[in-house]
Every structure is written in structure tokens, then in C-alpha cells.
Symmetry: C2
Subunit: 564 residues, 2 copies
């Protein structure tokens, strides 16, 4: 057991990324290296989390048919011979052969040198192109996303149950998923099942109030499989109540709506909703883009041994690598391929250590499998096509078999058995609270807040314009750099005006409690606010009063924002 000693003499194989690619390189190296070799080598793996997310089951966590904590597997158990660093990566310097990791509890970054470097960082979500997507759409990639989404669904039911305004009820009960590939289809299928079962315990909601909409850019869903299987899936989902919009492009997202354009007619429609999920397009990892290695479309170009040409002992695999196979085809970005590449990579690192000759990567894939929710799926395996319950059993079997570790497999099976008999779990965990400082996007015509509302936030305009209305009349225009909404927070009165958005508007919103804290402690802010407010209305006394209450407020603040 190593007890904090400096391992100067040890060789280090440094693997970046804890997806299927990175973890399986560590798993294979641990098995392939001899005992003596292992003693002289540190297999180091860097990943933000100490678990791997088993993506195919992530959607099951929405409906609760698999427990959230069961769709992940601990990397330390999968690769017991590897040293896991649960940190973010700050930078990679392939010339100096070092990688810098982010600080942990101690505010000091950690620097690791290496002999071999394996880059398996995958991709990131690409929010950049659609206004408001980053601020208001939920992604569906990480574990936290599934947890967030499940709670969001219950929250909407809870809110709709107490809501009397029919327009707002409709908005709360409309759910939009953008992206009609396997991931989006799985996601809306599980949302659909969960919601239709859950509404039964709500007194004021009936199933026909629910509206689930799937947006797909192209003219069919599931581009991963043949047209006939896709058509089967489409009919099945439609029969279960999911509205499918083809040739529909997401144009903007706000807290209250999505804007969709029909790509054939170029007409736009605004769908009122509080829940937009985007199975967003992938973008290269910014750390990968910054590397001096050969790249194509943001992917590191490697040879058939998975090594980077011209950079000996630097390897890249998985979604962040471009591997051209012998037949000239580029190995696709799937978990199956990443796992096979991991094996080739590990073999070649061992060969390189031993001075043996390297192998070429060769794998064409076995097929594609995708569940459509309870008791149905589509599959294409070795050229054969399957659909319905048989494909679904195949899907469950295949993915349980692939799940890392017998204990994990047993947990998943136990969940499926219990789920078949027990009612769905409708508890809403309020562990996500809104950031104290966050961005909000609005589209033209929307209302930021209305006269008489409770004052929950103050807004700073980053770009765009808005109008202040009192008694139905426009009294002022707001521009970038302007502040609004502070009066209700300082005076503790309801909003005294309505703010209507006149163009696309980007704001920074600060929550009530954070604003009150900042007002008291940030030099300059209190004066600036006092000036601003005396221009607008007379509430100077309230502001002074607020500053006097400094300590008691500060106290309340930390208490209220503690997660329960």
C-alpha cells in the first residue's frame, strides 16, 4: 500500500476521461500488465466523478424503473488497479508531458507528469447556437440531468394541481423534447410513461391534460435504424400519446415557451411550456480543441493503433478521436466502439512498454438497440431487424449483460422486478435550488414580471430591450446595462410595474436573498442602488431600513438557501 510516498521511479500511464473508453483502458491494462510491471507502473485515471454513467439506462431513471444510483457503476471497483483522481482537467501540455488538475478541497491545483497519455474525453453539449437553450433547456447526458428532469416532472404536476388559470395550467402540463434520435426518443418515452401513471394521484389533473411533444429536425425519427423500424417506433409513440413534429427546428427557448420553425413552410410557432429537454448536439471538448495535436472536426486524428502520429506515447480513443479503419470508414461515436478501441489501445500500450509490435483496430459493430419504453423496442443486429416485446427483452438482456459488475446487474434486475409490481415514485426532491446569480433569456413579447407579482429577483440587462408599463401605459424603455426589479426587493412590496420584452433579451438575474446580502456588503452597490431608486420612486427609507437589518437578514439568508 502506497502511503503518500513520492513515486518518482514509477512509470505513469495517464488516462483522461471516465467514459467507456477511458475506464476500459484502465480495466484492460490492469489485467494485461504482469505483477512486476504493475509494481513499476501507475495506471492513473482522471475523471470528475468516481463513477461511470451507464447511458443506456439513464432514461429508466426518469420513470424510476431503475433507481438513479443504479445506472452508475463505481470506477474504483471496475478498475481496482488504477489510481483514480476525481478532479477536473485544467490543461494538458503534451510538450512538457504534464497534465494539470483542478483544485479539490485545498485551493491548490495538482500537476501530473506521464509516460503514456490516453485522451478519452468524449464530447460536450453544444448549447451555443440556440438562444436561451443553455439557460432554460435541460440537457440529458449526465446523471444530474436525469435527477433534475424527474423532479421537474413532479414539480410541474404539483404546480398544475394548485393552479386555476387555464393558460398557465396548459403551460405547466406541456413537455417538449428536442431531438428524435435514440436518446430523445428514449427520454420522451420514459417521461410519457411516468407522467401518465403519476397523474392518477392528482385530483385536478386528468391524463388528457398532458401534452408531450417530440421535435425532430429531419423528416423521420431514429436515423440510427432503418426507415421501417423508425416508422414502427413513430406509430407506437403516437399511439401512446406523444405528438411527433417532423422537420421541426428549435429556434429559441425561454422559461415559459419554445419557438419552433417548420423547415418546409418556414412558419414559426410558439409552444407554451415550462419543460424543454434538449438532447443537444455534441461539440468538441474545449481542452481537446486547444491541443497542438492533429485534429479533424474537433476530433484528434489517430492511426489504426490509436496512437497520435508524430506524438509517440500519446493515444486518443472514443468520441474525441477519429480512427480510420482499414476499409477507410471512420469508427462511429458509440459506446461499443469506444470499448473495443480501449482494448486495442491497452494492448498497444503494453506492446510499446515491452517493445513488441502493435495491433490495428478492427471492429464494425454488431447492431443498434433502442427501447421505446414499457415492453417495446427496436433492434437491428447483424442485419436482422426486430421490434416490439421481443426486441425489448433483447434490449434488457443485452444491457444488463453489459452492465459492469455482478452487484450492479443484480441491483438493476431487482429494480425491474419491483417496478413491475409497485406504483411509480412521485416524490419530489427539492435539492436543486436556483442559482443565486444566473442568466435568463426572453423572446420578444414575453413578460418578465407583471404588476402585483411577488418580487423574487432583480434583473440586469446584458443585451436587448424591454418596456416598463404602468396602468397599461408604456412609461419607460430599458436598454443594455439597465437594472430593473430592484424596487420590490428593497421595499418588500409587490411589483409596481409590468416589464414587457420588445426584442430578444438576455439578463443576469440575482435572487432576492443574494441581492439583499450583496446590497449590504458590496462596496458601491448600495449607493448606486440608492441613486437609481431615488430617480425612480421614493423608497430611500426602506433601503436604509434594509441596511440596518443587515445581520438578521444575513442570518435568514443562509438558512433559507440550505438544501432540504
Amino acid at each position: 500500500m502506497i502511503r503518500g510516498k513520492a513515486d518518482v521511479a514509477k512509470k505513469r500511464i495517464l488516462i483522461l476521461g471516465g467514459g467507456f473508453g477511458g475506464v476500459y483502458v484502465a480495466v484492460h491494462l490492469g489485467k494485461m500488465l504482469s505483477r512486476a510491471e504493475l509494481e513499476g507502473t501507475e495506471i492513473a485515471l482522471v475523471n470528475r466523478d468516481n463513477y461511470i454513467v451507464f447511458q443506456p439506462l439513464l432514461a429508466d431513471a426518469i420513470s424510476g424503473s431503475v433507481e438513479l444510483s443504479h445506472v452508475i457503476a463505481p470506477i474504483r471497483r471496475m478498475a481496482p488497479r488504477a489510481h483514480l483522481y476525481t478532479r477536473d482537467i485544467e490543461s494538458i501540455d503534451p510538450r512538457a508531458r504534464t497534465v494539470t488538475l483542478s483544485p479539490g478541497v485545498r485551493p491548490t491545483p495538482l500537476s501530473l507528469n506521464y509516460d503514456h497519455l490516453v485522451i478519452a474525453l468524449g464530447t460536450r453539449l453544444d448549447y451555443g447556437k440556440i438562444p436561451g437553450m443553455q439557460e432554460h433547456a435541460s440537457p440529458f447526458k449526465y446523471l444530474g440531468d436525469a435527477l433534475f428532469l424527474r423532479n421537474q416532472l413532479v414539480r410541474m404536476l404539483e404546480e398544475a394541481e394548485a393552479e386555476r388559470d387555464p393558460e398557465i395550467r396548459k403551460r405547466l402540463l406541456t413537455f417538449v423534447v428536442a431531438g428524435g434520435g435514440f436518446s430523445g426518443v428514449r427520454c420522451i418515452a420514459e417521461m410519457n410513461e411516468f407522467l401518465r401513471e403519476a397523474v392518477r394521484v392528482y385530483h385536478n389533473i386528468v391524463e388528457s391534460d398532458l401534452r408531450l411533444i417530440l421535435l425532430q429536425r429531419s423528416d423521420r425519427i431514429l436515423p440510427e435504424v432503418t426507415a421501417s423500424l423508425a416508422s414502427f417506433a413513430q406509430k407506437l409513440l403516437a399511439g401512446r400519446g406523444v405528438e411527433i413534429r417532423l422537420s421541426a427546428e428549435l429556434k429559441a427557448v425561454t422559461a415559459n415557451a419554445v419557438t419552433v420553425e417548420d423547415r418546409r413552410t418556414h412558419q414559426t410557432e410558439v409552444i407554451s411550456t415550462r419543460t424543454a429537454v434538449a438532447t443537444a448536439p455534441a461539440a468538441p471538448h474545449p481542452i481537446v480543441t486547444a491541443l497542438p495535436l492533429p485534429q479533424n472536426n474537433g476530433r484528434i486524428v489517430v492511426d489504426q493503433t490509436t496512437e497520435v502520429p508524430g506524438w509517440p506515447q500519446v493515444w486518443a480513443i472514443g468520441d474525441c478521436a477519429e480512427i480510420k479503419q482499414a476499409d477507410g470508414k471512420i469508427s462511429p461515436a458509440t459506446a461499443d466502439h469506444a470499448m473495443r478501441q480501449a482494448k486495442t489501445c491497452a494492448q498497444n500500450i503494453v506492446a510499446s512498454c515491452r517493445g513488441a509490435s502493435k495491433r490495428h483496430f478492427r471492429f464494425t459493430g454488431l447492431g443498434r438497440l433502442g427501447s421505446l419504453g414499457r415492453r417495446s423496442a427496436v433492434a437491428e443486429i447483424l442485419g436482422f431487424r426486430f421490434k416490439g416485446i421481443f426486441a425489448w427483452l433483447l434490449w434488457r438482456g443485452a444491457y444488463v449483460a453489459k452492465f459492469p459488475g455482478l452487484d450492479g446487474q443484480l441491483r438493476v434486475i431487482a429494480d425491474w422486478v419491483l417496478d413491475a409490481f409497485l406504483p411509480c415514485d412521485i416524490t419530489q426532491l427539492r435539492i436543486f435550488h436556483e442559482e443565486a446569480v444566473h442568466r435568463e433569456h426572453f423572446e420578444a413579447g414575453e413578460t418578465v414580471f407583471a404588476n402585483g407579482d411577488f418580487g423574487d429577483k432583480v434583473y440586469f440587462i446584458v443585451q436587448g430591450e424591454a418596456e416598463v408599463e404602468r396602468n397599461g401605459e408604456r412609461v419607460a424603455k430599458l436598454h443594455p446595462g439597465d437594472v430593473f426589479g430592484e424596487a420590490a426587493l428593497i421595499s418588500n412590496q409587490p411589483r409596481n410595474a409590468t416589464i414587457r420584452v420588445s426584442s430578444q433579451l438576455d439578463t443576469v438575474a440575482v435572487s432576492r436573498s443574494a441581492f439583499q446580502q450583496l446590497l449590504i456588503h458590496l462596496p458601491g452597490l448600495s449607493n448606486a442602488m440608492q441613486e437609481l431608486m431615488s430617480d425612480r420612486i421614493k423608497v430611500g427609507e426602506d433601503l436604509k431600513d434594509l441596511v440596518r437589518k443587515a445581520n438578521s437578514l444575513a442570518h435568514d439568508f443562509s438558512r433559507t438557501d440550505r438544501p432540504r
Copy 2:
């Protein structure tokens, strides 16, 4: 089914609080009222969450022997005839007979009037008395607390695994629980089991590195049971590696240590730790304290029918009520008693509606049961005492039987069965990120940050003093109202000084990303910072540069802070 119609003619029985008291009033009313009566009555229940936490199993969620989502039960299923409002309570006006609820998705508060009011709001945690407790100690009362604590334990193991400094390793691997009642004992017992099993997969940590300390104010643990059972529990815990400190009083908590005073010798000791759990004393709910009803020690005084004297049709039960029984004894604050009071309360509300005579509350309790972790417990039932494995089986049986709903019972049993065979779950869910604006407490002698550290936060002094050191020399003194730590955030360089605390220090800390956002958008702040910084060092260009980068930074900010 009610579809948003105004229920003007309906009588409303409004129950505040979703603990055992409140929920069981709703359950009993749903059963006791006739079909006709139910049609003319709304049983309304207000609770922040849509579930009830089954407190006795909360500690099991730390070790993972019961899944976190299985220690709660959905209120909608338990009390299907009640209308649940998942909101916070803003105010109660017993003269106007209305209750105002906090806003939901819509920023508009909701006002409910009532015919009968049942107050079952329990108690709140009392952080007030110990410096730093609110900022740095984890409570152990709500579901989020158990989730937070479990992740905190894994995080400390992950950090210790990568840490080379022996002092810091020791701090990371020391865990302190304050409070030696059932709750604290259960909590440290489960933490102990989890940690001792989990360390096995860490290369650089051995079991003897772990230090778990239980602090108890009085001279014995478990005041709830007899001295001999308490002594059995104490020996058992000590044998399993828990250090028990008697007559030990918690005096202060910081991010890096707890200060403990020996009540016999009055000597204080500073224990270096990153994990302090406080099973904090209870305080009255502030909304209850503000009521014009008769109160004693923050509890509403009710008669033996659970009705408030002088306030007809206002009832109070559970921990927020003081009920004197026929024998003159005050009914203790336990779940058992709350459930029995709930039944009496429901019976008397029905009697009041029907004009029948009311009953008196009469219950003395059956006994006390407390688990000590795997295969041991202590119990006192109807005067008989049990300990060890028999008490433990009794404990499991009793609490499964009490768990609301057959589906919930099955889930708990399935968890226990799987837990007996499968290894513990060591995955760390990083869903809690630090608040952008939060308070931090320091004790004299501590270091806020050191020269060369990464700049992660800026601090504003609320009270207390600190010293700025450069090259070992004191160069400045900081006072309330002063700001420090802004330079490293604006210039993107490491800390250029060390901040040492010279008295108890309370600060408001703002995270790097939030500070950069605020700097760009908050009027006045940027100027104030520029003035401040030009006084201290020359980094004016950096600040201008930062403001130029406004939009890209703003963009990065929301991305980084998204929960994964």
C-alpha cells in the same frame, strides 16, 4: 374531479405541516368523514414537500442499506382524499381565518381561508447559539441532509486518496458528530460502518486512518434509555472504533475544525476536521412564535382535546404543541405521540362538525427503540429492556411495520436483503454545488487562504478582524466592511498574500464565477473595485480586460455551474 372551479360553498379543514402529526390528521379525516361530508369538505394539507420523511430510517440512507428515495413516502398516496399544497407558509392570520402560502412557479402568493385550522409545524433546527454552526455543520433532519452527508463522506475519501500532506489527510479523515441522543448515535454508527467498508477500495487509505468522534454534552449517551443500555451502546460503539467524548461541548465550527470544551476541566481543544454533523437542538418555528395564540416555551398550549383555548376550531398537535395529559405530564415530542394526537385531533374535528362531544388525548407511549448499526440495537418496551441482535431484529420489524404503505415496506425490505449481500455504494453524486453567495465563519488563528493558492472566492467582512501577510510579514489589518481576495479573481493569478484571522471572523463569500458576473453587470461595483485595487496593486488593465470579456465569461459561468 374538481377542475379549477371555485369551491366557495365547501368547508375547508386546513392542516399545516406534513410530518407524522399533520399527515395522520389528513389520513384519519379521510377515513372518518362520510361520503356526503367529504363532498362538502376540502381536507387541505400544506407542506413544502410532497412526501413525509420516515425519520427512523434516515440514518440507513447514509450507509446505503436503504435507498435514499425509500426512506420517504408520498403524501398523496397516504392521504388520497386530501388536497396537498406543496408550498411554504408565509403567514397565518387566525383572526381573519386565512393562511398565505409562498409563490410557486408563478410569482403570486396563494391565500387560503379555513373553517378548521390544524397547526402541526413541528420545530426548526436551532443554529443560533454556536458560532459557525449554521455555515459549516451539516444538520441531520431532512432528506437532503442524508444525501449531502453521504456524498460528503465519499468526497473526503476521494480527497484523502489524492492528498500527500499528512496534516490535511488527517483533517479529511476525521469526522465529528455533535449530539449523543438516538439521532446522533444512529448517525455516527452508520457513518462508521459505511466508511470502514468503503476505504477498502482506496489504495492510499487504511482503516486505522479513519477517526470518528461523537461529542455529548452530558456524562452519558442516549438519555432516552436507562444507564445500563446506554453503557452497552457506548461500549459497542467504542469497540467498533468510534471515539466518544462525554461532557464535551461544541463551542465553534469552521470549514476546517471544531472547537470543543470539556465541561469538567473547561479546557478547549481544536479538532481538525472537514466534516461536522450537528444533531442540533430544536427551536420553535418562527411562524408559530409570531401567532397570537397562547404559548409556553415556543409551543402552542392546547387543551386535552388538542384545541387551542379561546380559539375555537384552531387545533395544534405534535412538537409545536404543548398538551398536558390527565396525569399532568406534558406529552413528549416523539413521532409516536404526534400520531396518537393526530387521531384525537381528527376525531374531535369530526365531532365538532357533527355537534358531538369531544374526546381527551390519552397516551403514555410504548417504549423506545434505537439501532446502533449493523446487527445491534437497544430497546425499552413496556418496561422490558433488550439489547444486541434481538433488539435489532425488533427494531427492524417495528419500523418496517410502521412504514406507511405496503409498497414502501417492500422496497425497504428489498434494500435490506440486497445490502446484506452486495458491497456498499461508493459513488459520489456531485449535485450540491456551493452557493454563489454564502457566509463563512473563521476562528482566531485560522488561515482564510495562503499565498500561492488558487483564487476561488472573494470575501466581505461582516464582523471580526484579519491580517494580511506577505513574505511572513504583517502588511495590513482588515476590519468589518473590508473586502479581500478580489485581486486573484480579477487578475487570474494565484493569491499574492496570506490572510490570517485574528479574532472570530464572519464573512460573506462570493464565488469566482458569480463575482465576475456581478462585476460586469452590477452598477457601482466595478468602479468601487477599480478604486480599491488601484489603492492596493496595479491591475487596472486586467479589470478592463475582464469587462471586455463580459459576454464570453457570462456564457462560461452558467455552463460551469450547471449541476451534473
